[in-house]
Symmetry: C2
Subunit: 172 residues, 2 copies
């Protein structure tokens, strides 16, 4: 899929003089490309299927995160961390979602650490309306394409990697 | 990781009246979240490690795609398809990369179908310089965290899903 490949064929013959570059083997390269394809094309497809609901992937993600937070609200800085966005990008997105009536930005009385994003009643209702379609998309394009045994195996392989990557994010 | 979850806990009790929603089981949900975490956190981490080179993930992807194309160039519309971007978003990105001297936008004489993006000599050199570091990142955060057997199994499971998703994109 034409994603950040690590060993572009035309480059793999060059190596840094001081240290041999550990280029991927053909098998590793195939796997890496399959991972990137599934990762990016799945995001793309789920995004397309959210469009008729007037939502982008990021919007949906924010609705879910807020719906699962106490009082259906979260400090903007925490929401930025949770959704891997810069504060400025999140701020723009929340502005758009505020215009659409999905969330509300409010200062918390007595809390100087800044603004909170709140899920509105309308945002909550839209999430409830969209979630069934979204889970059908996730099943059709991903989950139902694996056997229960594959799901076990893949989860066992991915969970430690997720853990590693989470720990790095915490350190940032 | 607080990503587009499909079955927000608080929502899963509701179901559309006309049709039962096929919510994910606990196991499926765990696997889905692990997939999303690895997918998004890995992109995030690789992006952070490209930053010192002055590149974003998208920049690197475009350098790789162009480097693998005949004459190191590609029609803008094809490049947009290949990198899953809208034409307008790609156009903005190519403008930034042009300013950085990495690519060049040119009309092709005798081809009315529009503009091409060319990899410049400088873009090519930067890709050669960055690729060894990038492959080390990919190994450290992903590939080397699986056994050869896991890589076989994961690739066998993911390849048909990638194929399915590619076929959908073709249809768009």
């Amino acid at each position: 899929m034409d994603t950040p490949a690590d060993t572009p064929a035309a480059v793999s013959s060059s190596s840094s003089p001081e240290e041999e570059t550990p280029w991927l083997s053909a098998k590793e390269q195939q796997f890496w490309r399959a991972h990137l394809e599934v990762s990016h094309l799945l995001d793309y497809q789920l995004g397309r299927e959210l469009q008729p609901h007037g939502l982008a992937n990021n919007d949906y993600e924010i609705l879910v995160v807020l719906s699962e937070s106490p009082d259906r609200r979260m400090r903007m800085t925490d929401l930025a961390t949770a959704t891997l966005q810069s504060k400025s990008r999140l701020s723009h997105q929340i502005t758009r979602m505020e215009t659409a009536g999905l969330v509300l930005r409010q200062e918390c009385p007595g809390d100087r650490r800044g603004l909170y994003a709140h899920l509105t009643e309308q945002g909550w209702e839209i999430l409830q309306k969209v979630a069934p379609d979204h889970v059908r998309s996730v099943r059709h394009h991903f989950i139902d394409r694996f056997t229960p045994e594959q799901i076990e195996t893949l989860h066992a392989a991915l969970a430690p990697v997720a853990e590693h990557l989470r720990s790095l994010r915490g350190r940032s």
